[in-house]
Protein backbone atom coordinates (compact mmCIF):
# COMPACT_ATOMS: atom_id res chain seq x y z
CA UNK A 1 0.00 0.00 0.00
CA UNK A 2 1.38 3.37 -0.91
CA UNK A 3 2.34 5.93 1.68
CA UNK A 4 -1.01 7.53 2.11
CA UNK A 5 -0.38 10.87 3.69
CA UNK A 6 2.48 11.95 1.52
CA UNK A 7 0.73 10.85 -1.63
CA UNK A 8 -2.44 12.75 -1.04
CA UNK A 9 -0.54 15.98 -1.06
CA UNK A 10 0.77 14.96 -4.42
CA UNK A 11 -2.53 15.94 -5.85
CA UNK A 12 -2.93 18.95 -3.62
CA UNK A 13 -1.99 21.15 -6.52
CA UNK A 14 -5.11 19.88 -8.17
CA UNK A 15 -7.32 19.70 -5.15
CA UNK A 16 -10.84 20.98 -5.22
CA UNK A 17 -11.30 23.98 -2.99
CA UNK A 18 -13.77 23.60 -0.17
CA UNK A 19 -15.80 26.41 -1.67
CA UNK A 20 -16.31 24.45 -4.85
CA UNK A 21 -17.20 21.36 -2.94
CA UNK A 22 -19.68 23.31 -0.89
CA UNK A 23 -21.26 24.78 -3.99
CA UNK A 24 -21.55 21.34 -5.51
CA UNK A 25 -23.19 19.91 -2.43
CA UNK A 26 -25.49 22.87 -2.08
CA UNK A 27 -26.61 22.67 -5.66
CA UNK A 28 -27.25 18.96 -5.44
CA UNK A 29 -29.25 19.39 -2.26
CA UNK A 30 -31.20 22.22 -3.82
CA UNK A 31 -32.09 20.10 -6.81
CA UNK A 32 -33.14 17.23 -4.60
CA UNK A 33 -35.28 19.49 -2.46
CA UNK A 34 -36.89 21.00 -5.53
CA UNK A 35 -37.73 17.55 -6.83
CA UNK A 36 -39.20 16.51 -3.50
CA UNK A 37 -41.32 19.66 -3.47
CA UNK A 38 -42.63 18.76 -6.91
CA UNK A 39 -43.90 15.44 -5.62
CA UNK A 40 -45.66 16.80 -2.57
CA UNK A 41 -48.78 18.21 -4.29
CA UNK A 42 -49.49 14.92 -6.01
CA UNK A 43 -49.34 13.10 -2.71
CA UNK A 44 -51.59 15.66 -1.06
CA UNK A 45 -54.13 15.60 -3.86
CA UNK A 46 -54.31 11.84 -3.90
CA UNK A 47 -54.62 11.72 -0.13
CA UNK A 48 -57.32 14.33 0.04
CA UNK A 49 -59.26 12.89 -2.85
CA UNK A 50 -59.29 9.52 -1.24
CA UNK A 51 -60.15 10.78 2.19
CA UNK A 52 -63.01 13.00 1.22
CA UNK A 53 -64.07 11.29 -1.95
CA UNK A 54 -64.35 7.73 -0.71
CA UNK A 55 -66.56 8.94 2.06
CA UNK A 56 -69.10 10.11 -0.47
CA UNK A 57 -69.11 6.90 -2.45
CA UNK A 58 -72.05 4.60 -2.01
CA UNK A 59 -74.32 2.58 -4.18
CA UNK A 60 -76.90 5.34 -4.31
CA UNK A 61 -74.13 7.76 -5.18
CA UNK A 62 -73.64 6.05 -8.49
CA UNK A 63 -77.19 5.09 -9.20
CA UNK A 64 -79.20 8.22 -8.55
CA UNK A 65 -79.25 11.47 -10.39
CA UNK A 66 -78.52 14.73 -8.60
CA UNK A 67 -81.76 16.23 -7.44
CA UNK A 68 -80.75 19.83 -7.60
CA UNK A 69 -81.89 20.04 -4.06
CA UNK A 70 -79.12 21.86 -2.33
CA UNK A 71 -80.64 23.08 0.85
CA UNK A 72 -80.98 19.92 2.76
CA UNK A 73 -78.27 17.35 3.19
CA UNK A 74 -78.26 13.61 3.23
CA UNK A 75 -79.86 11.49 0.62
CA UNK A 76 -82.04 14.27 -0.63
CA UNK A 77 -79.28 15.66 -2.74
CA UNK A 78 -78.92 12.59 -4.89
CA UNK A 79 -75.89 11.07 -6.57
CA UNK A 80 -74.03 11.65 -9.81
CA UNK A 81 -75.43 9.09 -12.15
CA UNK A 82 -76.38 11.52 -14.88
CA UNK A 83 -72.99 13.18 -14.65
CA UNK A 84 -71.08 9.95 -15.19
CA UNK A 85 -73.28 8.82 -18.03
CA UNK A 86 -73.23 12.25 -19.53
CA UNK A 87 -69.47 12.41 -19.54
CA UNK A 88 -69.28 9.02 -21.16
CA UNK A 89 -71.77 9.99 -23.85
CA UNK A 90 -70.29 13.38 -24.62
CA UNK A 91 -66.71 12.17 -24.71
CA UNK A 92 -67.64 9.15 -26.78
CA UNK A 93 -69.22 11.35 -29.43
CA UNK A 94 -66.31 13.77 -29.28
CA UNK A 95 -63.91 10.88 -29.83
CA UNK A 96 -65.97 9.54 -32.69
CA UNK A 97 -65.67 12.91 -34.36
CA UNK A 98 -62.09 13.82 -33.61
CA UNK A 99 -60.33 10.49 -34.01
CA UNK A 100 -61.14 9.75 -37.64
CA UNK A 101 -60.55 13.35 -38.64
CA UNK A 102 -57.38 13.62 -36.58
CA UNK A 103 -55.90 10.38 -37.82
CA UNK A 104 -56.89 11.29 -41.36
CA UNK A 105 -55.08 14.62 -41.17
CA UNK A 106 -52.06 12.94 -39.63
CA UNK A 107 -51.96 10.39 -42.43
CA UNK A 108 -52.19 13.17 -44.95
CA UNK A 109 -49.36 15.06 -43.26
CA UNK A 110 -47.05 12.08 -43.23
CA UNK A 111 -47.95 10.27 -46.43
CA UNK A 112 -49.07 12.95 -48.83
CA UNK A 113 -48.39 16.43 -47.62
CA UNK A 114 -44.95 15.87 -46.19
CA UNK A 115 -42.91 18.99 -46.93
CA UNK A 116 -45.35 20.93 -49.04
CA UNK A 117 -46.31 24.47 -48.10
CA UNK A 118 -49.80 23.25 -47.27
CA UNK A 119 -48.42 20.70 -44.85
CA UNK A 120 -46.27 23.29 -43.15
CA UNK A 121 -49.21 25.64 -42.83
CA UNK A 122 -51.41 22.91 -41.47
CA UNK A 123 -48.80 21.93 -38.92
CA UNK A 124 -48.46 25.52 -37.90
CA UNK A 125 -52.19 25.89 -37.39
CA UNK A 126 -52.39 22.63 -35.49
CA UNK A 127 -49.73 24.10 -33.23
CA UNK A 128 -51.87 27.19 -32.84
CA UNK A 129 -54.84 25.04 -31.96
CA UNK A 130 -52.98 23.27 -29.17
CA UNK A 131 -52.39 26.56 -27.42
CA UNK A 132 -55.97 27.79 -27.52
CA UNK A 133 -57.52 28.00 -24.04
CA UNK A 134 -60.28 25.46 -23.72
CA UNK A 135 -62.96 27.97 -22.91
CA UNK A 136 -62.53 29.54 -26.31
CA UNK A 137 -63.58 26.31 -27.95
CA UNK A 138 -66.78 26.54 -26.00
CA UNK A 139 -67.26 30.11 -27.07
CA UNK A 140 -66.63 29.27 -30.68
CA UNK A 141 -69.22 26.52 -30.72
CA UNK A 142 -71.57 28.84 -28.96
CA UNK A 143 -71.15 31.41 -31.69
CA UNK A 144 -71.51 28.96 -34.52
CA UNK A 145 -74.03 26.48 -33.25
CA UNK A 146 -76.09 28.43 -30.78
CA UNK A 147 -76.15 31.99 -31.92
CA UNK A 148 -75.65 30.95 -35.48
CA UNK A 149 -78.48 28.48 -35.56
CA UNK A 150 -80.69 30.16 -33.07
CA UNK A 151 -81.03 26.95 -31.15
CA UNK A 152 -80.09 26.12 -27.64
CA UNK A 153 -77.64 24.01 -25.69
CA UNK A 154 -77.24 20.40 -26.56
CA UNK A 155 -75.01 17.52 -25.63
CA UNK A 156 -73.68 17.08 -29.13
CA UNK A 157 -72.60 20.69 -29.27
CA UNK A 158 -70.48 20.07 -26.22
CA UNK A 159 -69.07 17.04 -28.00
CA UNK A 160 -68.07 19.14 -30.96
CA UNK A 161 -66.32 21.62 -28.70
CA UNK A 162 -64.43 18.78 -27.06
CA UNK A 163 -63.66 17.30 -30.44
CA UNK A 164 -62.02 20.58 -31.43
CA UNK A 165 -59.97 20.36 -28.27
CA UNK A 166 -58.93 16.78 -28.95
CA UNK A 167 -58.17 17.29 -32.60
CA UNK A 168 -54.70 18.82 -32.35
CA UNK A 169 -53.66 16.29 -29.72
CA UNK A 170 -54.75 13.37 -31.86
CA UNK A 171 -53.13 14.84 -34.95
CA UNK A 172 -49.84 15.48 -33.26
CA UNK A 173 -49.49 12.17 -31.52
CA UNK A 174 -50.62 10.25 -34.59
CA UNK A 175 -48.14 12.14 -36.72
CA UNK A 176 -45.29 11.37 -34.37
CA UNK A 177 -46.10 7.67 -34.45
CA UNK A 178 -46.60 7.53 -38.18
CA UNK A 179 -43.24 9.16 -38.69
CA UNK A 180 -41.70 6.37 -36.67
CA UNK A 181 -42.90 3.70 -39.06
CA UNK A 182 -39.73 2.80 -40.91
CA UNK A 183 -39.57 4.00 -44.47
CA UNK A 184 -38.23 0.62 -45.43
CA UNK A 185 -41.53 -0.97 -44.46
CA UNK A 186 -43.49 1.32 -46.72
CA UNK A 187 -41.04 0.95 -49.53
CA UNK A 188 -41.03 -2.81 -49.52
CA UNK A 189 -44.81 -2.83 -49.69
CA UNK A 190 -44.82 -0.33 -52.52
CA UNK A 191 -42.16 -2.33 -54.30
CA UNK A 192 -44.55 -5.25 -54.35
CA UNK A 193 -46.83 -3.17 -56.49
CA UNK A 194 -49.39 -2.30 -53.86
CA UNK A 195 -51.24 0.96 -54.37
CA UNK A 196 -50.57 3.64 -51.84
CA UNK A 197 -53.89 3.43 -50.07
CA UNK A 198 -53.38 -0.29 -49.57
CA UNK A 199 -49.94 0.31 -48.12
CA UNK A 200 -51.37 2.80 -45.68
CA UNK A 201 -54.29 0.66 -44.71
CA UNK A 202 -52.61 -2.73 -44.51
CA UNK A 203 -49.04 -1.93 -43.58
CA UNK A 204 -48.60 1.49 -42.02
CA UNK A 205 -51.72 1.72 -39.89
CA UNK A 206 -51.48 -1.69 -38.26
CA UNK A 207 -47.87 -1.01 -37.28
CA UNK A 208 -48.73 2.40 -35.95
CA UNK A 209 -51.91 1.32 -34.26
CA UNK A 210 -50.73 0.73 -30.67
CA UNK A 211 -48.84 4.01 -30.61
CA UNK A 212 -51.77 5.90 -32.04
CA UNK A 213 -54.08 4.26 -29.59
CA UNK A 214 -51.93 5.57 -26.79
CA UNK A 215 -52.13 9.10 -28.12
CA UNK A 216 -55.87 8.77 -28.64
CA UNK A 217 -56.48 7.52 -25.14
CA UNK A 218 -54.50 10.37 -23.69
CA UNK A 219 -56.55 12.82 -25.72
CA UNK A 220 -59.73 11.19 -24.45
CA UNK A 221 -58.46 11.42 -20.89
CA UNK A 222 -57.79 15.09 -21.39
CA UNK A 223 -61.21 15.74 -22.85
CA UNK A 224 -62.97 13.87 -20.07
CA UNK A 225 -61.55 16.30 -17.54
CA UNK A 226 -62.49 19.51 -19.30
CA UNK A 227 -65.15 21.75 -17.88
CA UNK A 228 -64.96 25.08 -19.68
CA UNK A 229 -65.89 23.94 -23.18
CA UNK A 230 -69.04 22.38 -21.82
CA UNK A 231 -70.28 25.30 -19.80
CA UNK A 232 -71.99 27.09 -22.63
CA UNK A 233 -72.57 24.30 -25.04
CA UNK A 234 -73.92 21.22 -23.39
CA UNK A 235 -75.08 23.13 -20.40
CA UNK A 236 -76.18 20.81 -17.71
CA UNK A 237 -79.24 19.08 -16.70
CA UNK A 238 -79.86 16.92 -13.74
CA UNK A 239 -81.60 14.01 -15.24
CA UNK A 240 -79.94 11.15 -16.99
CA UNK A 241 -80.41 11.71 -20.61
CA UNK A 242 -79.53 9.54 -23.54
CA UNK A 243 -80.40 12.11 -26.10
CA UNK A 244 -77.36 14.02 -27.13
CA UNK A 245 -79.62 16.51 -28.76
CA UNK A 246 -80.78 17.76 -25.42
CA UNK A 247 -79.10 19.16 -22.37
CA UNK A 248 -76.60 16.84 -20.87
CA UNK A 249 -74.87 16.67 -17.55
CA UNK A 250 -71.19 15.86 -17.16
CA UNK A 251 -68.85 15.15 -14.29
CA UNK A 252 -66.63 18.24 -14.55
CA UNK A 253 -69.61 20.57 -14.83
CA UNK A 254 -71.38 18.88 -11.97
CA UNK A 255 -68.29 19.21 -9.78
CA UNK A 256 -67.91 22.83 -10.77
CA UNK A 257 -71.47 23.62 -9.81
CA UNK A 258 -71.20 21.81 -6.52
CA UNK A 259 -67.93 23.44 -5.49
CA UNK A 260 -69.58 26.75 -4.77
CA UNK A 261 -72.45 25.30 -2.81
CA UNK A 262 -72.84 26.25 0.85
CA UNK A 263 -74.18 22.84 1.75
CA UNK A 264 -71.50 20.50 3.08
CA UNK A 265 -73.20 17.42 1.73
CA UNK A 266 -73.12 18.87 -1.75
CA UNK A 267 -69.46 19.69 -1.43
CA UNK A 268 -68.82 16.14 -0.29
CA UNK A 269 -70.62 14.94 -3.35
CA UNK A 270 -68.26 17.10 -5.37
CA UNK A 271 -65.33 15.30 -3.79
CA UNK A 272 -66.85 11.95 -4.59
CA UNK A 273 -67.43 13.02 -8.14
CA UNK A 274 -63.89 14.35 -8.36
CA UNK A 275 -62.52 11.02 -7.18
CA UNK A 276 -64.66 9.25 -9.75
CA UNK A 277 -63.41 11.50 -12.51
CA UNK A 278 -59.78 11.12 -11.51
CA UNK A 279 -60.14 7.35 -11.33
CA UNK A 280 -61.61 7.29 -14.83
CA UNK A 281 -58.80 9.45 -16.16
CA UNK A 282 -56.11 7.43 -14.42
CA UNK A 283 -57.55 4.23 -15.82
CA UNK A 284 -57.39 5.67 -19.31
CA UNK A 285 -53.81 6.74 -18.70
CA UNK A 286 -52.87 3.33 -17.37
CA UNK A 287 -54.36 1.55 -20.36
CA UNK A 288 -52.61 4.01 -22.67
CA UNK A 289 -49.29 3.26 -21.05
CA UNK A 290 -49.77 -0.49 -21.18
CA UNK A 291 -50.60 -0.32 -24.86
CA UNK A 292 -47.63 1.92 -25.50
CA UNK A 293 -45.36 -0.64 -23.94
CA UNK A 294 -46.58 -3.25 -26.37
CA UNK A 295 -46.03 -1.00 -29.35
CA UNK A 296 -43.24 -2.08 -31.63
CA UNK A 297 -42.32 1.47 -32.43
CA UNK A 298 -41.91 3.33 -29.20
Amino acid sequence: MSAHGASTDRLSRFAVSPARRRRDRLARTGVLVGTAIALVPLALIVYYLLRKGLGAWSVSFFTTDPTGNTFFGGSSIGGIKSAILGTIEIVALASAISIPIGVGVAIWLVEYGRDSWLAHTVRFFVDVLTGVPSILFGLFIYIVLIIGTGSTYAGYKGSIALALLMLPIVIRSAEVILLLVPAALRESALALGAPRWRVILNVVLPTALPGMLTGVLLAVARAAGETAPLLFTAAATLKTNFNLGGFMNSLPVQIYKDVTSPTTAVVNRAWGAALTLVVMILLLNLVARLISRRSRLA
Binding site: S2, A3, H4, A6, S7, T8, R10, L11, R13, F14, A15, V16, S17, R20
Partner: protein, 316 residues
Protein backbone atom coordinates in the same frame (compact mmCIF):
# COMPACT_ATOMS: atom_id res chain seq x y z
CA UNK B 1 22.77 -1.80 -14.87
CA UNK B 2 22.82 -4.80 -17.09
CA UNK B 3 22.07 -8.15 -15.56
CA UNK B 4 24.72 -10.81 -15.17
CA UNK B 5 24.36 -13.66 -17.53
CA UNK B 6 21.79 -14.19 -20.21
CA UNK B 7 18.37 -12.87 -19.35
CA UNK B 8 15.40 -15.10 -20.05
CA UNK B 9 13.63 -14.14 -23.22
CA UNK B 10 10.80 -11.89 -22.15
CA UNK B 11 8.56 -13.10 -24.89
CA UNK B 12 8.64 -16.61 -23.52
CA UNK B 13 6.83 -15.48 -20.45
CA UNK B 14 3.20 -14.60 -20.20
CA UNK B 15 3.27 -10.81 -20.19
CA UNK B 16 0.72 -10.60 -17.44
CA UNK B 17 2.87 -12.41 -15.01
CA UNK B 18 6.17 -10.77 -15.74
CA UNK B 19 7.85 -10.03 -12.51
CA UNK B 20 9.28 -6.73 -11.56
CA UNK B 21 12.68 -8.11 -12.21
CA UNK B 22 11.99 -8.97 -15.78
CA UNK B 23 10.42 -5.64 -16.35
CA UNK B 24 13.46 -3.99 -14.92
CA UNK B 25 15.68 -6.05 -17.16
CA UNK B 26 13.57 -5.02 -20.11
CA UNK B 27 13.90 -1.40 -19.17
CA UNK B 28 17.61 -1.67 -18.79
CA UNK B 29 17.85 -3.22 -22.19
CA UNK B 30 15.75 -0.42 -23.59
CA UNK B 31 18.04 2.13 -22.07
CA UNK B 32 20.85 0.83 -24.19
CA UNK B 33 18.89 0.62 -27.41
CA UNK B 34 19.30 3.43 -29.84
CA UNK B 35 16.26 5.66 -29.96
CA UNK B 36 14.05 4.97 -32.99
CA UNK B 37 14.49 7.30 -35.91
CA UNK B 38 11.55 9.48 -36.63
CA UNK B 39 10.20 11.32 -39.59
CA UNK B 40 9.36 14.31 -37.50
CA UNK B 41 12.35 15.91 -35.97
CA UNK B 42 11.30 17.41 -32.74
CA UNK B 43 13.48 18.77 -30.06
CA UNK B 44 16.33 16.72 -28.80
CA UNK B 45 15.02 16.34 -25.30
CA UNK B 46 12.78 13.44 -24.57
CA UNK B 47 14.18 11.08 -27.15
CA UNK B 48 15.83 9.06 -24.51
CA UNK B 49 13.45 6.97 -22.51
CA UNK B 50 13.51 8.06 -18.93
CA UNK B 51 15.11 5.30 -17.05
CA UNK B 52 14.74 6.34 -13.46
CA UNK B 53 12.86 3.21 -12.55
CA UNK B 54 12.66 1.78 -9.09
CA UNK B 55 15.11 -0.87 -9.84
CA UNK B 56 17.80 1.64 -10.07
CA UNK B 57 18.92 1.24 -13.59
CA UNK B 58 18.74 4.95 -13.92
CA UNK B 59 20.49 6.92 -16.58
CA UNK B 60 21.46 10.26 -15.32
CA UNK B 61 20.78 13.52 -17.00
CA UNK B 62 17.19 13.26 -18.08
CA UNK B 63 15.40 16.54 -17.95
CA UNK B 64 11.94 17.30 -16.57
CA UNK B 65 10.48 14.53 -14.45
CA UNK B 66 12.37 11.35 -14.05
CA UNK B 67 10.54 8.11 -13.73
CA UNK B 68 7.20 6.66 -14.36
CA UNK B 69 4.31 9.03 -14.71
CA UNK B 70 1.54 6.44 -14.50
CA UNK B 71 1.61 2.81 -13.55
CA UNK B 72 -1.27 0.40 -13.98
CA UNK B 73 -1.36 -2.58 -11.69
CA UNK B 74 -3.81 -5.36 -12.32
CA UNK B 75 -6.29 -3.03 -13.92
CA UNK B 76 -9.60 -4.62 -14.76
CA UNK B 77 -12.57 -2.78 -16.18
CA UNK B 78 -16.17 -3.97 -16.32
CA UNK B 79 -19.33 -2.92 -18.04
CA UNK B 80 -21.78 -4.45 -15.63
CA UNK B 81 -20.80 -8.08 -15.52
CA UNK B 82 -18.79 -8.07 -18.73
CA UNK B 83 -15.06 -7.74 -18.28
CA UNK B 84 -13.54 -5.61 -20.98
CA UNK B 85 -10.06 -5.01 -19.58
CA UNK B 86 -8.73 -8.20 -18.03
CA UNK B 87 -5.82 -7.36 -15.82
CA UNK B 88 -3.25 -4.96 -17.20
CA UNK B 89 0.15 -4.08 -15.79
CA UNK B 90 1.64 -1.22 -17.69
CA UNK B 91 3.86 1.77 -17.14
CA UNK B 92 3.82 5.08 -18.87
CA UNK B 93 7.07 6.90 -18.69
CA UNK B 94 7.21 10.57 -17.89
CA UNK B 95 7.57 12.97 -20.77
CA UNK B 96 7.19 10.26 -23.31
CA UNK B 97 4.52 9.43 -25.78
CA UNK B 98 3.12 5.95 -25.34
CA UNK B 99 0.80 4.62 -27.99
CA UNK B 100 -1.79 1.95 -27.35
CA UNK B 101 -2.63 -0.07 -30.43
CA UNK B 102 -4.85 -3.04 -31.02
CA UNK B 103 -7.88 -4.20 -32.99
CA UNK B 104 -11.33 -2.72 -32.45
CA UNK B 105 -12.90 -3.78 -29.22
CA UNK B 106 -9.69 -4.87 -27.54
CA UNK B 107 -10.30 -2.49 -24.66
CA UNK B 108 -7.71 0.19 -25.36
CA UNK B 109 -10.11 3.11 -24.98
CA UNK B 110 -11.64 1.54 -21.91
CA UNK B 111 -8.26 1.07 -20.30
CA UNK B 112 -7.21 4.61 -21.00
CA UNK B 113 -10.46 5.97 -19.64
CA UNK B 114 -9.74 4.21 -16.39
CA UNK B 115 -6.68 6.31 -15.92
CA UNK B 116 -8.62 9.49 -15.34
CA UNK B 117 -11.60 7.62 -13.93
CA UNK B 118 -13.91 8.54 -16.77
CA UNK B 119 -14.82 4.91 -17.18
CA UNK B 120 -17.00 4.95 -14.09
CA UNK B 121 -19.15 7.73 -15.53
CA UNK B 122 -20.90 5.13 -17.64
CA UNK B 123 -23.83 3.68 -15.70
CA UNK B 124 -23.02 0.21 -14.46
CA UNK B 125 -19.32 0.44 -15.23
CA UNK B 126 -16.62 -0.05 -12.67
CA UNK B 127 -12.91 -0.75 -12.46
CA UNK B 128 -10.65 -2.73 -10.17
CA UNK B 129 -6.94 -2.65 -9.60
CA UNK B 130 -4.62 0.24 -9.11
CA UNK B 131 -3.70 3.21 -11.20
CA UNK B 132 -0.74 4.95 -9.67
CA UNK B 133 0.19 8.53 -10.34
CA UNK B 134 3.67 8.12 -8.93
CA UNK B 135 2.82 6.94 -5.43
CA UNK B 136 -0.80 7.73 -5.40
CA UNK B 137 -3.50 5.27 -6.37
CA UNK B 138 -6.22 7.28 -8.07
CA UNK B 139 -8.75 4.66 -7.09
CA UNK B 140 -7.98 5.11 -3.44
CA UNK B 141 -11.23 6.04 -1.72
CA UNK B 142 -9.61 9.04 -0.08
CA UNK B 143 -8.73 10.56 -3.41
CA UNK B 144 -11.05 13.10 -4.99
CA UNK B 145 -11.95 12.07 -8.48
CA UNK B 146 -12.22 15.68 -9.56
CA UNK B 147 -8.63 16.31 -8.60
CA UNK B 148 -7.51 13.26 -10.56
CA UNK B 149 -9.14 14.60 -13.65
CA UNK B 150 -7.29 17.84 -13.35
CA UNK B 151 -4.03 16.00 -13.09
CA UNK B 152 -4.85 13.72 -15.99
CA UNK B 153 -6.42 15.49 -18.92
CA UNK B 154 -8.24 14.01 -21.86
CA UNK B 155 -8.67 14.77 -25.54
CA UNK B 156 -11.50 12.94 -27.24
CA UNK B 157 -12.00 11.39 -30.61
CA UNK B 158 -14.42 13.94 -31.93
CA UNK B 159 -13.37 17.53 -31.27
CA UNK B 160 -15.85 18.82 -28.73
CA UNK B 161 -15.34 22.47 -27.85
CA UNK B 162 -18.20 23.84 -25.77
CA UNK B 163 -20.58 25.01 -28.47
CA UNK B 164 -21.97 28.05 -26.76
CA UNK B 165 -18.62 29.49 -25.72
CA UNK B 166 -16.00 31.62 -27.39
CA UNK B 167 -12.47 30.41 -28.01
CA UNK B 168 -11.25 32.25 -24.96
CA UNK B 169 -14.01 30.90 -22.75
CA UNK B 170 -13.39 27.38 -23.94
CA UNK B 171 -9.77 27.46 -22.93
CA UNK B 172 -10.53 29.42 -19.77
CA UNK B 173 -13.29 27.03 -18.70
CA UNK B 174 -10.93 24.75 -16.80
CA UNK B 175 -8.92 27.38 -14.92
CA UNK B 176 -12.10 29.33 -14.22
CA UNK B 177 -13.35 26.50 -12.10
CA UNK B 178 -10.76 27.24 -9.47
CA UNK B 179 -9.86 30.87 -9.87
CA UNK B 180 -11.54 33.78 -11.48
CA UNK B 181 -8.79 36.34 -11.52
CA UNK B 182 -8.76 37.99 -14.91
CA UNK B 183 -5.03 38.55 -15.17
CA UNK B 184 -4.25 34.96 -14.32
CA UNK B 185 -6.80 33.70 -16.77
CA UNK B 186 -5.52 35.70 -19.69
CA UNK B 187 -2.04 34.44 -19.12
CA UNK B 188 -3.10 30.83 -18.77
CA UNK B 189 -5.21 30.99 -21.90
CA UNK B 190 -2.40 32.41 -23.96
CA UNK B 191 0.09 29.89 -22.64
CA UNK B 192 -2.27 27.04 -23.35
CA UNK B 193 -3.07 28.25 -26.84
CA UNK B 194 0.61 28.65 -27.59
CA UNK B 195 1.26 25.19 -26.28
CA UNK B 196 -1.37 23.87 -28.63
CA UNK B 197 0.10 25.73 -31.55
CA UNK B 198 -3.11 27.66 -32.03
CA UNK B 199 -2.24 31.08 -30.67
CA UNK B 200 -1.07 32.62 -33.90
CA UNK B 201 -4.19 31.55 -35.68
CA UNK B 202 -6.74 32.78 -33.18
CA UNK B 203 -5.09 35.53 -31.15
CA UNK B 204 -7.09 38.17 -32.94
CA UNK B 205 -10.42 36.42 -32.62
CA UNK B 206 -10.55 35.03 -29.14
CA UNK B 207 -14.14 36.14 -28.74
CA UNK B 208 -15.44 34.18 -31.67
CA UNK B 209 -17.32 30.96 -31.20
CA UNK B 210 -15.18 27.91 -30.65
CA UNK B 211 -17.41 25.93 -32.92
CA UNK B 212 -16.58 28.15 -35.86
CA UNK B 213 -13.09 26.74 -36.30
CA UNK B 214 -12.07 24.00 -38.67
CA UNK B 215 -11.94 20.42 -37.40
CA UNK B 216 -8.21 20.41 -36.87
CA UNK B 217 -8.31 23.78 -35.15
CA UNK B 218 -11.13 22.61 -32.92
CA UNK B 219 -9.11 19.63 -31.82
CA UNK B 220 -6.15 21.84 -31.05
CA UNK B 221 -8.55 24.05 -29.14
CA UNK B 222 -9.53 21.02 -27.10
CA UNK B 223 -5.88 20.29 -26.50
CA UNK B 224 -5.38 23.88 -25.36
CA UNK B 225 -8.40 23.50 -23.10
CA UNK B 226 -6.78 20.49 -21.47
CA UNK B 227 -3.41 22.20 -21.24
CA UNK B 228 -4.88 25.20 -19.48
CA UNK B 229 -5.33 23.28 -16.24
CA UNK B 230 -1.68 22.22 -16.35
CA UNK B 231 -2.09 18.48 -16.09
CA UNK B 232 0.73 16.03 -15.73
CA UNK B 233 -0.63 13.53 -18.18
CA UNK B 234 -2.79 13.95 -21.25
CA UNK B 235 -4.76 11.00 -22.53
CA UNK B 236 -5.69 11.10 -26.20
CA UNK B 237 -8.33 8.75 -27.47
CA UNK B 238 -7.89 8.51 -31.25
CA UNK B 239 -7.59 12.28 -31.48
CA UNK B 240 -7.00 12.40 -35.22
CA UNK B 241 -9.49 9.88 -36.48
CA UNK B 242 -12.02 12.56 -37.36
CA UNK B 243 -9.48 14.85 -39.02
CA UNK B 244 -8.00 15.25 -42.46
CA UNK B 245 -4.34 14.32 -43.08
CA UNK B 246 -3.02 17.86 -42.89
CA UNK B 247 -4.71 18.55 -39.57
CA UNK B 248 -3.50 15.16 -38.38
CA UNK B 249 0.05 16.06 -39.24
CA UNK B 250 -0.18 19.32 -37.34
CA UNK B 251 -1.40 17.52 -34.27
CA UNK B 252 1.28 14.88 -34.49
CA UNK B 253 3.90 17.61 -34.59
CA UNK B 254 2.20 19.17 -31.64
CA UNK B 255 2.34 15.93 -29.67
CA UNK B 256 6.03 15.78 -30.22
CA UNK B 257 6.44 19.22 -28.67
CA UNK B 258 3.95 18.67 -25.91
CA UNK B 259 5.77 15.77 -24.38
CA UNK B 260 8.24 18.17 -22.88
CA UNK B 261 5.44 19.50 -20.73
CA UNK B 262 3.32 16.45 -20.15
CA UNK B 263 3.27 12.72 -20.49
CA UNK B 264 1.12 11.58 -23.35
CA UNK B 265 -0.82 8.40 -23.82
CA UNK B 266 -2.39 8.08 -27.22
CA UNK B 267 -4.83 5.42 -28.31
CA UNK B 268 -4.73 4.90 -32.02
CA UNK B 269 -5.96 2.37 -34.53
CA UNK B 270 -3.54 3.85 -37.06
CA UNK B 271 -0.27 1.98 -36.77
CA UNK B 272 1.59 4.42 -38.94
CA UNK B 273 0.61 7.16 -36.58
CA UNK B 274 1.93 5.19 -33.64
CA UNK B 275 5.16 4.70 -35.51
CA UNK B 276 5.38 8.40 -36.19
CA UNK B 277 4.66 9.86 -32.78
CA UNK B 278 5.22 7.33 -30.06
CA UNK B 279 8.34 6.58 -28.08
CA UNK B 280 6.86 3.37 -26.78
CA UNK B 281 3.98 1.31 -28.01
CA UNK B 282 1.77 -1.16 -26.21
CA UNK B 283 -0.22 -3.75 -28.09
CA UNK B 284 -3.48 -4.91 -26.59
CA UNK B 285 -5.60 -7.83 -27.61
CA UNK B 286 -8.88 -8.96 -26.13
CA UNK B 287 -8.53 -6.94 -22.95
CA UNK B 288 -4.99 -7.99 -22.21
CA UNK B 289 -1.61 -6.45 -22.76
CA UNK B 290 0.33 -8.54 -25.23
CA UNK B 291 3.51 -6.62 -25.54
CA UNK B 292 5.00 -3.25 -24.80
CA UNK B 293 8.28 -1.77 -25.85
CA UNK B 294 10.03 0.89 -27.87
CA UNK B 295 7.98 1.66 -30.92
CA UNK B 296 10.68 0.70 -33.35
CA UNK B 297 10.99 -2.71 -31.81
CA UNK B 298 7.29 -3.41 -31.72
CA UNK B 299 7.00 -2.68 -35.39
CA UNK B 300 10.18 -4.23 -36.69
CA UNK B 301 10.99 -7.07 -34.37
CA UNK B 302 8.10 -7.78 -32.06
CA UNK B 303 8.59 -10.55 -29.54
CA UNK B 304 5.10 -11.96 -29.56
CA UNK B 305 3.72 -13.63 -32.68
CA UNK B 306 0.35 -12.05 -32.09
CA UNK B 307 1.94 -8.63 -32.21
CA UNK B 308 3.70 -9.56 -35.38
CA UNK B 309 0.46 -10.72 -36.95
CA UNK B 310 -1.27 -7.50 -36.06
CA UNK B 311 1.42 -5.09 -37.19
CA UNK B 312 1.87 -6.91 -40.45
CA UNK B 313 -1.82 -6.66 -41.06
CA UNK B 314 -2.77 -10.31 -40.82
CA UNK B 315 -5.75 -9.23 -38.81
CA UNK B 316 -7.14 -5.95 -37.68
Amino acid sequence: MTPDGPAPKVADLDPDSRSELERGQQQARDASTAPPTRRITGSAAGHQPAAGSRLGSGDAGVEAKAGIAVRLEGLRAFYGEAEQVKGIDLEFRANEVTAIIGPSGCGKSTMVRCINRMHEEIPGAHAEGRVLLEDLDVYDPAVDVVAVRRAVGMVFQKPNPFPTMSIFDNVAAGPRLSSRRRGDLRQKVESALRGAGLWDEVADRLDEAGAGLSGGQQQRLCIARSLAVEPEVILMDEPCSALDPIATLKIEELIDELKQRVTIVIVTHNMQQAARVADRTAFMLDGKLVEVGPTQEIFTKPSDPRTEDYVTGKFG
